[in-house]
């Protein structure tokens, strides 16, 4: 049933992603980005995707490669404009890709809401700004709030550090970022990790993503990239 499956390859991990799917992609810049899963998704061929991620790709790798391959119809993100986001910039300026800009905290909280069964929530972020347009406003205890709705994914592709065979996850440092939230918000959560260990090998007090949120795990030789001063 829901129990996580350890698969042999990144290609097996992304099997079944349909054209038009909404895919949550982990990472803040390149930290935590699931490079191998994205490359497998490019090989897999699904197109017309909606990608939910904090950024819109750096350089030519990861999310930028998926965008360059023409598979993405729309990006939902908080910070597309970076020094090395030339792939997205070109597609955006030529009208080949749609952008929904969401403040970073709303991006995280709206995915949390999806995972937590919250129908909508009132948040003060963006009050009085252009990003409040089209949103319902309400005053509570003298403060103004906007109504925000959940963001759900058909798939989440995330990177973590260690998994046990049941699917419990730990992360490394700030590469944790969106992984734990996205894992709760997708119908199918796919994780690439550096290492898979036996159940019982992770400290139960230090598990960050409990196994219930994980569907497929693949162990890879994770490559790590830095972006110097990019944002």
């Amino acid at each position: 049933m829901s129990r996580a499956e350890v698969v042999e390859s990144a290609d097996a991990a992304v099997a079944g992603v349909e054209d038009g799917a909404t895919v949550l992609v982990g990472g803040f810049g390149l930290a935590g980005m699931p490079f191998d899963l994205i490359e497998a998704l490019i090989r897999q061929g699904a197109k017309d995707l909606t990608i939910v991620s904090n950024n819109a790709g750096n350089g030519e790798v990861g999310l930028a490669a998926l965008l360059a391959a023409g598979r993405v119809r729309k990006v939902v993100c908080s910070f597309p404009r970076q020094a090395d986001s030339w792939v997205f910039d070109r597609l955006y300026r030529s009208g080949e890709i749609e952008l929904e800009l969401v403040p970073q905290g709303n991006l995280a909280e709206r995915m949390r809401a999806a995972g937590a069964g919250i129908g909508a929530f009132y948040c003060p972020t963006a009050i009085g700004t252009p990003l409040a347009e089209g949103r319902e406003e309400r005053e509570i205890d003298g403060r103004r709030y906007l109504l925000e709705y959940p963001i759900r994914g058909d798939y989440a592709l995330i990177g973590a550090y260690r998994a046990d065979t049941l699917g419990n996850l730990t992360y490394r440092r700030t590469a944790r970022n969106f992984g734990p939230v996205m894992a709760t918000a997708a119908a199918t959560t796919v994780v690439q990790v550096d290492q898979i260990v036996e159940a019982g090998q992770l400290d139960p007090e230090a598990v960050v993503t409990p196994s219930i949120y994980v569907d497929r795990i693949v162990q890879v030789q994770t490559r790590r990239h830095t972006v110097q001063g990019a944002r």
Binding site: M1, R3, R112, G117, L166, E198, G200, L202, P210
Partner: protein, 230 residues
């Protein structure tokens, strides 16, 4: 994540007597799909854990903040910092994880549990659940996580004796006790039989020590789907 429960999964038990709660717990345990994430309510449903084999891969959730809860702790294994939702000391299985209350209820309310099995005062034919309050004016009300499980688990099952001590049915056309959740229960396990309930009404899946027609008559069930034998 796929739907945890297939109504045809449980091999019907042929019994010529009403089941004890322990026998019933074994029936329920056999119905739980391998690898499912399950919450067992306080009281009778906790017995189900005793009938789950390790090989089933069923993972137990306890709402006070843990996955992969093990059996009740005995003797030196008792740790006051490790209890189930009934505040009974329990143990930890390999692959356990701890989390705080907001995270635990996010898990419950977000639809991630495959099955929960709860006790009940009454269940309505349409799946309404009453299990938190008798409505008696001098009663101290207490709800705990029952309403969260009722709206949150993919499948809400009930385990209860079919009749009260004064022989009143607890599976009823409409609950008279205050509700815990509306239309949330899909299956009711009782000592006299197993029932599928919900928007399409009630259907008897199997009976124990009583004929289906007789049971349908006692409960006032008129659904033609009810099988003719018991």
């Amino acid at each position: 994540m796929t739907h945890a429960n297939d109504p045809s999964a449980g091999a019907p038990m042929r019994a010529d007597h009403p089941l004890s709660m322990d026998e019933l717990a074994a029936v329920i345990a056999a119905d739980i799909p391998s690898g499912a994430f399950v919450n067992l309510g306080i009281g009778q449903p906790t017995r189900i854990a005793d009938h789950l084999s390790a090989s089933s891969g069923v993972v137990l959730h306890t709402e006070n903040g843990m996955l992969n809860m093990g059996p009740r702790a005995e003797g030196d294994a008792v740790d006051p910092d490790l209890t189930n939702a009934g505040k009974v000391p329990v143990t930890e299985l390999p692959g356990a994880a701890y989390f705080h209350q907001a995270d635990s209820f996010a898990m419950m309310r977000g639809g991630h549990l495959d099955v929960c099995v709860l006790g009940a005062y009454q269940v309505g034919f349409q799946g309404d659940l009453a299990n938190w309050h008798t409505g008696a004016p001098d009663a101290v009300p207490a709800v705990g996580g029952a309403m969260d499980l009722a709206i949150g688990a993919k499948e809400v099952h009930v385990m209860m004796p079919l009749f009260t001590r004064s022989d009143q049915p607890k599976l009823v056309p409409l609950c008279t006790y205050p509700l815990t959740g509306v239309g949330c229960v899909s299956r009711v396990y009782t000592d006299h039989g197993v029932f599928e309930v919900g928007a399409r009404g009630v259907r008897i899946r199997e009976t124990y020590g009583v004929g289906a027609r007789e049971l349908a008559r006692r409960l006032g069930i008129t659904d033609p789907d009810t099988p003719p034998t018991g």
